[in-house]
């Protein structure tokens, strides 16, 4: 846990970068500091590893004041990924990644193993990348090496200053996804600075919205999107904040039970129903498609009334509600099925349910 206690950083009387902030960054979660340029987010980050010294207040890591710790020990225990990666241009990828383990005087064989492991973790094949020089890497690859370097000595804390800022949007999204997967596995305490709200929403467990050196709101992304505390936060989240919020919610939360029918049976399985269609499953509860249950179609054998589903119309449990909504709009349907990894039917998510839930959130405001 990283605790800021009344921390202020002023360069002179006119320029105050950070004004008296007090908050706690939870352990093993990813906290995003976000805000427009000059809001103090980078200063806040860099005070943690003492690249910048606070003018007043204390920063405590697990109860220890960072200004009282040995600066090199402190920094070797904190992974650091900076804006333009900052790989050492004269060192190979391997030597770059091995920087902190070497400072900590690890054994050579241990370092070699660790470098291989990390390159694999960030999706770079060690054999072909270990001996490359930074100038031979693409922007995305360099960023991956930067992340691997920060993780090298397995520090509990990682500071990231706009780590994916310098790559093209497509690569950025891929890096974000991969990074989210790594974090899921490692559960580091990460402090992440960005000005990209989509990035924040995609990655954050918690978001601190900053402006003018103060933290305006510090909460989960869902909460900030649903209930921004003031106009600035509201505007900063963008006019599509309802959609952004849906991108944070897995379909599992909005899933509902619905009527199904066994394709091997007949129409008699269905009693009186209000539905216009039902999902058709096989004997193993695998989703096959859907069946129109209007009276006209009931004259046909069940199998002939069956419409099979396209793959893009089926959702997995880790899809987001935003994805579900988008696919519904695309396919012009009012509901889509959710299946598990073995294609077994879990339930459906419907347009009316999404509306109902987003509406009830609004009313709480």
């Amino acid at each position: 846990m990283i605790r800021f206690e009344k921390v202020t950083k002023e360069y002179d009387e006119e320029t105050v970068a950070v004004k008296d902030i007090t908050f706690e960054i939870p352990s093993r979660e990813l906290t995003v500091l976000i805000g427009p340029s000059g809001c103090g987010k980078t200063t806040t980050l860099k005070m943690i590893n003492r690249i910048i010294r606070p003018t007043a207040g204390r920063i405590l890591i697990d109860g220890n004041d960072v200004t009282e710790m040995d600066i090199r020990q402190l920094r070797r225990g904190i992974g650091y990924v900076i804006q333009n990666v900052g790989l050492f241009p004269h060192m190979s990828v391997k030597d770059n990644v091995a920087t902190v383990p070497k400072l900590l005087k690890w054994e050579r064989s241990k370092i070699d193993d660790r470098v291989d492991e990390l390159l694999q973790l960030v999706g770079l094949e060690p054999k072909s990348y270990a001996n490359k020089l930074p100038k031979e890497l693409s922007g995305g690859e360099a960023q991956r090496v930067g992340v691997a370097r920060a993780l090298a000595a397995d520090p509990p804390i990682i500071l990231m200053d706009e780590p994916f800022g310098a790559v093209d949007p497509l690569t950025r999204v891929r890096l974000q996804d991969e990074f989210a997967r790594i974090q899921e596995e490692l559960h580091k305490t990460i402090v992440f600075v960005t000005h990209d709200i989509d990035e924040a929403i995609r990655l954050a467990d918690k978001i601190a919205v900053m402006k003018g050196g103060r933290i305006l709101q510090f909460d989960t992304p869902e909460e900030i999107l649903a209930r921004p505390v003031e106009k600035f936060v509201h505007d900063f989240m963008g006019s599509d904040r309802a959609l952004k919020r849906l991108s944070r919610i897995p379909v599992l939360e909005y899933i509902e039970k619905s009527e199904t029918i066994d394709v091997n049976g007949g129409w008699e399985q269905l009693g009186v129903t209000k539905e216009e269609f039902v999902w058709a499953l096989d004997e193993k509860k695998k989703l096959i498609g859907w069946v129109d249950v209007s009276h006209s179609s009931r004259e046909l054998p069940l199998k002939e009334a069956l419409t099979e589903m396209l793959e893009e119309e089926i959702l997995s449990p880790d899809s987001t509600v935003k994805e579900a909504l988008s696919r519904m709009l695309e396919s012009g349907t009012m509901a889509l099925p959710v299946v598990d990894r073995a294609d077994r039917f879990l339930g459906q998510i419907s347009l009316s349910k999404i509306q109902e839930l987003t509406k009830s959130d609004r009313e709480e405001e």
Partner: protein
């Protein structure tokens, strides 16, 4: 691969060239017949001070001592003024070193005489002072041109100032520093010929003697090897520079 190959080839060419140079200056009979053929009416075509090998030896010794010291001192100054403690002197040193280079080398040498007298030592001192400038300037440029994020990453990962200097800054600045040393050495080889006028010996001796006694054979005896020496030193250091940067 091809880069490596071209590097090996350039080293081989350089080796052949240097070997030819040494053979050329060690064969006095060849020089004598060459200069005699050019200037048949001169009484003497070779300067009596010593063999060419000896003259080149003297010359090189002046250059090696002065450039060696200039390298050590120059890099130290460049490093000092880029540290937080010495940074206040950075503009001063950087301006002085640019300004100093506009001074003609001969003038520097001439100024050294009233201060240090005649002979080897004042020549070396003057060469050292003059040779310092490109090295100081290139050391500063090399270190200052390192992207700030590289330095920030190094400190951020817990390197000490010494580790940042020796593992990051100097290796990255090495190529630029090397080219400073190259410039310094080449200038010094040329300037050292003027050292003969204040009695320092070297390849300047036959040149000066030739000028005084109006003997063009003496002038060529000193000037041709001096030019070849400057050229070889430049090629050698350029090759070293290239090998470092492509590592």
């Amino acid at each position: 691969m091809t880069e490596k190959k071209s590097r090996v080839i350039s080293w081989i060419i350089l080796g052949i060239f240097l070997l030819a140079f040494i053979l050329l200056i060690s064969n006095m009979a060849l020089w004598e017949s060459f200069l005699r053929w050019l200037f048949p009416e001169e009484r003497e075509v070779l300067h009596p001070r010593g063999t060419l090998l000896e003259l080149v030896g003297e010359h090189l010794w002046m250059v090696i001592v002065s450039s060696g010291l200039a390298t050590v001192i120059g890099i130290s100054i460049g490093v000092l003024v880029t540290r937080p403690l010495g940074r206040q002197y950075l503009p001063l040193v950087s301006n002085l070193s640019s300004l100093g280079q506009t001074f003609p080398p001969v003038a520097v040498l001439a100024l050294a005489v009233p201060l240090l007298g005649f002979g080897f030592k004042p020549t070396v001192a003057a060469l050292l002072l003059y040779g310092l400038l490109p090295i100081v300037r290139n050391t500063i440029t090399g270190i200052e041109n390192i992207p700030s994020e590289v330095r920030e990453a190094a400190y951020g990962m817990g390197m000490s100032s010494w580790q940042v200097l020796f593992k990051i800054e100097l290796p990255l600045a090495l190529k630029v520093i090397m080219s400073g040393i190259r410039i310094s050495v080449v200038i010094n080889i040329g300037t050292a010929t003027v050292g003969a006028t204040i009695g320092a010996g070297g390849l300047g001796s036959p040149i000066t003697a030739g000028l005084v006694s109006e003997n063009p054979a003496f002038i060529l005896e000193g000037a041709i090897p001096a030019a070849l020496l400057a050229f070889s030193a430049d090629a050698l250091l350029a090759n070293i520079e290239k090998s470092i940067s492509s590592e």
